[in-house]
């Protein structure tokens, strides 16, 4: 029976790198272009998961489990972050009835 790292290694490393780079860039573009706070938030999660994917791939190719442990940590932190972030967005929405980040410019001046 094949182990998970063996299955991961059936796809060449370059494909993983290209895929995570593409995911990361999509995430960046999402953050930069979208104005809805929840979409921006999703884009950030996308970037995190692009990194997670890359870490898992490298971890398998180098037979080093610490990469996968990192992935678990990132997932745990991201879950906490999502909880806090969504709570903030809810609070913003309650205050200004909108989650358009273009309106959030009160820090200026």
């Amino acid at each position: 029976m094949q182990t998970i790292p063996d299955i991961i290694r059936t796809i060449p490393l370059a494909h993983y790198i290209l895929l995570s780079s593409a995911l990361f860039c999509i995430g960046i573009l999402g953050v930069l272009t979208r104005r809805n706070a929840i979409i921006v938030f999703m884009a950030i999660e996308l970037m995190l998961n692009a990194v997670n994917l890359l870490l898992a791939a490298f971890s398998s190719y180098y037979s080093d489990p610490s990469g996968q442990i990192f992935v678990f940590f990132i997932m745990a932190v991201a879950a906490a972050e999502v909880a806090v972030g969504l709570a903030i967005i809810v609070m913003i929405y309650r205050n200004i009835q909108s989650i358009d980040i273009g309106i959030l410019n009160k820090l200026k001046n």
């Binding site: 960046i28 953050v31 930069l32 272009t33 104005r35 980040i101 273009g102 959030l104 410019n105 009160k106 820090l107 200026k108 001046n109």
Partner: protein
């Protein structure tokens, strides 16, 4: 032994009491508070003098400066030299305090005046009592301060304030030299104590820069004792009240430089070049002062230049290593110059503040005591035997004769000038007809007893002062030279002199002929010095003091003023305004410009962040690849 602490302490108490209570107490009380301390200090000094057994004592007063290995305690030193200085300072000081009671009687600043005088006595005593150069320096600066305060005592008048500032600044130049000398001593010996430094030099530990130290110390002496080139403050110092001129600018403070050189004779003896310089500076000053004195018409100015000139003689004596002779002259000069100044003060007092000798004359019958005492002072300073000035000046001259004949002959010339101008002043003031106004004539009177008694006492000392160091040929035993011998290098024997040798005859001729000439010109022919506007030629050059003040003004004061204006208007504008304020303006401008990128748009911030991270990554990648 504890009485010695009282000597400087009493005048200080007098200063504090008088200074704090002025002007709330009566003049009588202020006079008593001011005069008792120096008198008591004088009595204690006599007691110390009588009990002195010839050994140097060091009295520890307090710990002062402790820096690592360097220790400078606040110590007093009682030895032959300081005891004599104590006697002169407190003795002459007391007489001048008494005199001031009469002289300043009508002055509103009476109590303040006595407070300053007491402070001066205090600092002067610290100066001579100090057991190291640092304590000496405290006194040195303190007397400079008092000199400033007292010259500018009548500070309502602008020119008096300027004279005070001039004295202060000129002294400061000398003090800088002195201070550098002290620092070098600390560097070389790790101490400023006389005992430490001198004993280590005598044991053969002679540092290479001893000549530099001697020079620096001499620069200090130059400032304080009014030698070329720092002498011009002393004649201007006559702006102060006359007792001040007598006490500070004739009898005591100006001799501090000589005291210091005598104190440091061990250092100077090993620097023959500097000693040579001391002698020649002294000679030039003596001659210059004597020549300028010839044509001055202000009675106090004449005495001031005479003081400059006599100080020159003392330095000449130091230059010839005749320390005890110089100190002898310090003492006799303290007597007769204080007497002359106080006599002049008495005349000025009677003449309602007139100081021009062309307006005086015929005061002999009106002021007999002043006349007679002034005559004795004049005889003493002119070096006519057997008055004190003869013995002291002759001793310096005798040493010069064996040291350097050229110096000796020039000194004789200066001495002739001295006796001429002193008799000129004397004759114009006291003989002939009165030349002042009617109002002054009606006001003429002999001064009160408080002024005449000090005159009489000082006159006695001026006559008999020679006794303290009467040479062998006059039947004496050179008391002063023996008294000071432990502190000084052993003098060369000058051999026996007779009254008929050149060595003895020339000074006598220089003392006797000029007075006869003066009597002929100013008494028989009744010549009166010309009015200011009619003075011409070389006489005008001398009357205007060789334009030395103007020269200093031109080469020092004007350039400094120019430089100040330059710095104020050009450098200040370019550096301060354009550079320093410019930096502030640039920051302000830049911040208003950069403020614009802070739009408040979160997307924009994120975009900038991504671009920046991309740039940083690119840079990092580049350096990693290369």
């Amino acid at each position: 032994m504890s009485l010695i602490y009282l000597i400087p302490l009493l005048p200080f108490i007098g200063f504090v009491v008088n200074g704090l209570s002025f002007p709330n107490i009566s003049k009588q009380l202020a006079a008593i508070i001011g005069t008792i301390p120096p008198l008591a200090a004088f009595l204690i000094s006599i007691q110390v003098f009588v009990n002195f057994d010839g050994t140097t004592q060091i009295l520890h007063v307090a710990e002062w400066i402790k820096l690592g290995d360097l220790q400078i305690p606040f110590d007093f030193q009682i030895d032959a030299l300081s005891i004599l200085m104590l006697l002169v300072i407190t003795g002459v000081g007391t007489l001048i305090h008494i005199y001031s009671i009469g002289y300043m009687a009508h002055d509103p600043g009476f109590g303040k005046f006595f407070a300053f005088l007491n402070l001066f006595i205090f600092f002067m005593l610290i100066l001579v009592l100090g057991a190291n150069f640092t304590v000496l320096f405290i006194g040195w600066e303190g007397v400079g301060l008092c000199s400033y305060l007292l010259i500018g005592f009548w500070n309502q008048k602008n020119s008096y304030g300027n004279a005070a500032r001039k004295a202060f600044i000129m002294n400061r130049i000398g003090d800088l030299g002195f201070l550098i000398g002290i620092f070098l001593l600390i560097q070389d010996f790790g101490s400023t104590g006389y005992a430490t430094i001198f004993s280590s030099i005598q044991q053969g530990d002679v540092p290479d820069n001893l000549g530099v130290i001697a020079f620096c110390l001499f620069v200090g002496a130059m400032g304080k004792s009014a030698q070329i080139p720092l002498f011009t403050w002393l004649p201007d110092a006559m702006a102060g009240p006359t007792p001040v001129s007598a006490l500070i600018h004739a009898a005591t403070m100006v001799t501090a430089g000589i005291y210091m050189v005598i104190r440091a004779n061990v250092i100077f003896e090993l620097s023959p070049d500097i000693l040579h310089l001391v002698g020649w500076i002294g000679l030039s000053t003596a001659l210059l002062g004597a020549i300028i004195g010839l044509f001055q018409n202000d009675i106090k100015k004449v005495l001031a230049y005479s003081t400059v000139s006599q100080l020159g003689y003392m330095f000449m004596g130091l230059g010839a290593s005749a320390y005890s002779a110089s100190f002898f002259h310090v003492m006799t000069h303290a007597f007769f110059k204080a007497l002359l100044f106080l006599g002049a003060g008495s005349v000025i007092h009677a003449m309602s503040d007139e100081q021009d000798i062309r307006k005086m004359g015929g005061l002999k019958s009106k002021m007999p005591i002043t006349y007679f005492t002034f005559l004795l002072g004049t005889l003493a300073i002119s070096g006519i035997p057997p008055f004190s000035g003869f013995f002291s000046k002759d001793e310096i001259l005798a040493n010069l004769y064996h040291h350097d004949l050229l110096m000796w002959s020039l000194a004789i010339l200066g001495s002739a000038c001295t006796s001429f101008y002193m008799f000129r002043v004397f004759i114009l003031t006291f003989w002939g007809e009165f030349r002042g106004s009617e109002k002054q004539a009606s006001h003429l009177h002999e001064s009160p007893w408080s002024m005449t008694i000090p005159l009489i006492i000082l006159a006695l000392f001026s006559v008999a002062g020679g006794l303290i160091n009467l040479p062998h040929f006059a039947g004496g035993n050179e008391f002063l030279a023996h008294w000071l011998a432990p502190l000084l290098p052993s003098p060369e024997s000058l051999g026996e002199v007779s009254f008929f040798s050149l060595e003895m005859g020339a000074p006598l001729l220089a003392a006797f002929i000029p007075p006869l000439l003066a009597i002929f010109i100013f008494s028989s022919k009744k010549l009166i010095p010309a009015e200011d506007s009619q003075i011409q030629g070389i006489q005008k050059l001398i009357y205007q003091k060789f334009y030395i003040d103007e020269l200093y003004d031109l080469i020092i004061v004007k350039p400094i003023n120019f430089l100040s204006v330059f710095f104020g208007q050009v450098i200040d504008f370019l550096v301060i305004d354009l550079f320093v304020e410019g930096i502030g303006k640039i920051v302000q401008y830049a911040s208003t410009e950069f403020k614009r990128i802070q739009t408040g748009n979160v997307g924009y911030y994120v975009f900038m962040m991504v671009i920046s991270i991309a740039i940083i990554l690119f840079m990092g990648l580049k350096s990693w690849i290369l």
